[in-house]
Amino acid sequence: MSATSVLATEALAPSFPYLPALVLLPFVGTLLIALVPKGRPDMHRLIAIVTSVTVFALSVALLVAFKPGENAYQFIVSQTWVSALDIKFYLGVDGISLFLVVLTGLMFPIALFAAKPQHDEKGYYLWITLLQAGCMGVFLSLDLFLFFLMFELTLVPLYFLIGRWGHGRRVYAATKFFLFTMAGSALMLVAIVALATMAHAGDNGGVSFDLLKVVASGSVSRNAARWIFLGFAVAFAVKTPVFPFHTWLPDAHTEAPTAGSVDLASVLLKLGAYGYLRFGLLLFPEASVWFAPVMLTLGTIGIVYGGIVAAMQRNLKRLIAYSSVAHMGFAIIGIFALNVQGLEGAILVMVNHGIITGALFILLGYIYTRRHTFEIAKLKGLQKPAPIFAAVFTFVMLAAIGLPGLSGFVGEFLSLIGVYLAHRWWALVAATGVIFAALYLLWAYQRTFHGEPDDDNKHFPEMKLSEKLVLAPLLALIVFLGVYPKPVLDRIEPSVKVLVEHVQRANPGLAPADTQAGSDIDPAKVLEGEQVKLENQAGEKSKVDGGSATTVPETGGAGR
């Protein structure tokens, strides 16, 4: 039984084309903004907000309509685009991409509400809407070519957002971002083309860019697969960013406008990690295991290095940027633990980092609009004039540190468990990252919020109602996902299990005892146990029904 046949039946089920709507609606919005003449900034803002809110509503509807027990791709849509090369407009969603889609749907409207541009409104809204189209496209594509196209498409809007509406050395930061990411994707394009031409997955042994067909063909030699994996891995490593490829991120984050930073941290950093999950592991199960020690090492270095460097920063935005390097390190080590706990942890880290860091950047944006600086040295004693602001900041900061009960903890914990089961020494080193997080964030907080405010900071305005409303949904999610991540895990788990089995099948040598899906260490149970121990309120704690919601078919799965 091939994976595609399972998926083909799925395609008939949905009534509403959620996925094309999610991808195409932002394109329509972009076009509309382009058509409205320049003198109507309110109109541009309105179109951008209506578009992104509609996309958010659609993504929530998708979340509701998503069948939790399924391990296959759902809501599949396929439309031939370039028939000669079997390139298709091929979309589908599974547990791995579902929450990233919802995250994209959520963070764009919030970024729009959180900040307004100072000038050239039309271009600003146009690029931000186009950026959303690209991000949605990346998370939903099941065609290698379409994926690459969308992956590249995200470059241009963010380049303009940073370069035109950013701060300080914005042109330098934007250009660096563009060239770094493009260099990564350049290698990926060659890798994709090499894969497609080698796999002969199309009709009559022709070229095909259909992800599932390529996976099913399995005719790429082991050595070639390793090289091609490397091509993908570098592109994703730049985007994630993984340790030696991260240098564009602090610059881009620091100089980007608030909305750009929010979208960059919340959504764009997830593209790379998602790429490892969707393409790295699925297409190259053998190469993933072969490269796992390298990736684990780089991820661990990223965690430790990001933490240490973040502690040294004098600029708040730069500090959070380096903390992103550290946090994404947790996602990377979780993925390359290559077991259910690690993968689930990685996805949770991605989602939670999106929410928490998004909230942090929004808060920094508010500080900037008040004080026109991100320098820690120029901020002092903000707690006195703005206690609510300080409270909200503390809350989000604690979530970022990974305080149990808040969402940041869940993902990092699961991911560390996964790594511990597979490669415990790396887990021991990586765990220190949590301590670093507490160090740099608390220290930064202490320097900016504690003490007596000087003259410049004495009249720091308190948080406005509109600002509270923007942050409220994020704070609620931080609590909800920290206390009760089960609904999320339930939907992620089937897809993750299939993926882990897929990797194990390709690597018979991999010890199955540690990593067996649904083995003695069940991620949800572990979490619950931990929460009880920490005496956190976990009222709705319910037992994970036996073997969780799904029964994974012996041979089925996302592909072979």
């Binding site: 000669a84 090369l85 100072q118 380049y159 042109v171 934007a174 290698l187 060659v190």
Partner: protein, 552 residues
């Protein structure tokens, strides 16, 4: 010389070649397929009629009609190509017109000297389209610069006819004729701007170096003739596939010299040194035509001679093309970085693009030819569109080409800036533009031929080149102070005349259209395979030796 005459004498006896008239021999005039030659004839006759009429009539009204006339002639040539295309493809109906093709499929005519196949028609259409788009903004340019006169248009049409001749050449001599017709007209066009010293310099430089390269090319033809006994590509191909060469030094020398000639025309490193000066100095519309049509015609010749005729010797010429490709891509991109003149930047970028097309050539497969054609078409519209913008922003005098002159263009001419940005991003290879697919197909061709490193080098060179385009984008969009709008350019907004606007719009539509619906361009490019059809005097449709039959 004696050998040559004996070959000629042989040719006379078989009647297969155009024959010199001498006493006692019966003159055999080869059958001529006038319909297939119609596009070429329309361009040539159109140019001659224009010269004649304008020398008889003078006046303001007439001078206003030059661009329109040129556009009409080029469009007529373009439309005249369509029935040939239909015939070559063997279509039974063309739109609402029912066709009964007389001889479906590719053929050859004029005694085997001219190929009538999908490839020649495709390239011919691209060149005609280049003329149309160039002529659209040429009129206003000449009026602005006070250079009004029919000469530029005549030369444009003649040059294009040379390009067509190159595209359909099935004989090295015809190829050379086409090359010279194309080039000589262009030498004059380059020097046409009377009030700019750089223009005179460009004309002279282009002429001297071009003549030099023509000499190389001619030597190459002679060597190949010496090695194979013919200048006819079909016969060369047949000879090479049947005869075993014990010593092929002469042929290899011929390859090398021909490649030098082509290398000059496509401006591949290390034969590129003329390009920046000539691009910069020439009147901008001439630069546009030069960068698009000359590349198309020269690559058409290169593909037909090397990929098709010498296809069985691919292992011998591939390393040279490989080297040229790498040098051009990397060299063009790196040298472009330090430029501050936009026309020079685009010149270096065109060198880099030539390298990218050479990547597809070095694949030496049918997919490679398809990629070459797609790239040439996409590039034509990107680059003509870019130069149309440059010609408008150059303002009166055609000398505001510094990067500084583009500062704040986003503020004063937002639409123009956005369209230029799209052209630049297309050249950088950003998705949803034709440039992306052009690069993509070139990479597919290379990777499919197992040239992975070439693919990787090509993409990394594209990243370096992207920096060059970003510099222009930065100048237009990001030169202002923080948190404020761009200051408008020092010289105020530029006025975009109607013709230039139309030309830019056409290029814009094609660039985005081919980026969103690539099949519309890719499928015809796939059908436009060059074929070597053996000429038989009675019926010219006979056995063919297309690339698929003799590929590596």
């Amino acid at each position: 010389m004696i050998a040559a005459t004996s070959v000629l004498a042989q040719a006379i006896s078989t009647g297969a070649q155009p024959t010199p008239i001498s006493a006692g021999t019966k003159v055999v005039i080869p059958s001529i397929d006038w319909v297939a030659l119609l596009p070429l004839l329309i361009l040539t006759v159109g140019a001659i009629v224009m010269v004649t009429l304008t020398s008889l009539m003078r006046g303001r009204f007439i001078s206003r009609a030059y661009p329109a006339y040129t556009v009409v002639v080029a469009l007529a040539a373009l439309l005249a190509s369509l029935p040939v295309w239909a015939r070559v493809q063997g279509w039974t109906s063309f739109g609402w017109i029912d066709l009964v093709p007389k001889q479906p499929g590719a053929s050859t005519t004029v005694g085997g000297a001219v190929a009538v196949d999908g490839f020649s028609v495709f390239v011919g259409i691209v060149i005609c389209a280049t003329v149309v788009v160039t002529a659209l903004f040429l009129g206003e340019y000449l009026r602005r610069e006070g250079l009004d006169g029919p000469e530029f248009y005549v030369l444009l049409l003649l040059s294009a006819s040379g390009g067509l001749m190159m595209a359909m050449a099935d004989d090295l001599i015809v190829l050379f004729l086409g090359l010279e017709t194309l080039s000589i007209a262009l030498y004059v066009m380059a020097a046409m701007h009377l009030r700019r010293v750089q223009s005179q310099e460009a004309g002279l430089k282009y002429f001297v170096l071009g003549a030099f390269s023509s000499a190389f090319f001619l030597y190459g033809i002679a060597m190949v003739y010496g090695a194979t006994g013919s200048t006819n590509l079909v016969k060369i191909s047949a000879f090479l596939s049947t005869a075993v060469l014990t010593k092929n030094g002469l042929l290899m020398l011929g390859f090398a010299l021909l490649l030098v000639g082509f290398g000059f025309k496509i401006a591949a490193v290390p034969f590129h040194s003329w390009a920046p000066d000539v691009y910069d100095g020439s009147p901008t519309p001439a630069t546009a035509f030069m960068s698009a049509a000359v590349k198309a015609a020269a690559f058409a010749g290169l593909v037909r001679v090397f990929m098709v005729t010498f296809g069985s010797f691919a292992e011998d010429w591939k390393p040279i093309v490989y080297t040229l490709a790498v040098l051009s891509m990397v060299g063009g991109a790196v040298l472009a970085i330090v430029q501050t003149n936009v026309k020079r930047m685009l010149a270096y970028s065109s060198i880099s693009h030539a390298g990218f097309i050479l990547v597809a050539v070095s694949a030496a497969t049918e997919r490679g030819i398809q990629a070459v054609l797609f790239y040439l078409t996409a590039y034509t519209f990107m680059v003509v569109g870019s130069f149309a913008v440059v010609s408008v922003v150059g303002r009166a005098g055609d000398d505001h080409h510094s990067l500084k002159d583009y500062r704040g263009l986003a503020r004063s001419n937002p639409v123009l800036a956005l369209v230029f940005t799209i052209f630049l991003l297309a050249q950088a290879g950003i998705p949803f533009t034709s440039g992306f697919f052009a690069k993509f197909y070139a990479i597919i061709a290379a990777v499919d031929a197992r040239e992975y490193w070439l693919g990787i080098i090509a993409m990394l060179a594209a990243v370096i080149a992207a920096f060059l385009y970003l510099r222009l984008v930065i100048a237009m969009y990001m030169s202002g102070p923080e948190d404020a709008e761009e200051p408008p350019p020092v010289l105020g907004p530029v006025r975009v005349p109607f013709g230039a606007g139309l030309a830019i719009a056409i290029c814009f539509v094609v660039t985005l259209g081919a980026g969103i619906f690539p099949s519309t361009l890719l499928d015809p490019a796939g059908k436009a395979t060059p074929q070597l059809v053996t000429f038989t005097p009675s019926s010219s449709a006979a056995g063919s030796g297309s690339l698929s039959g003799q590929g590596p």
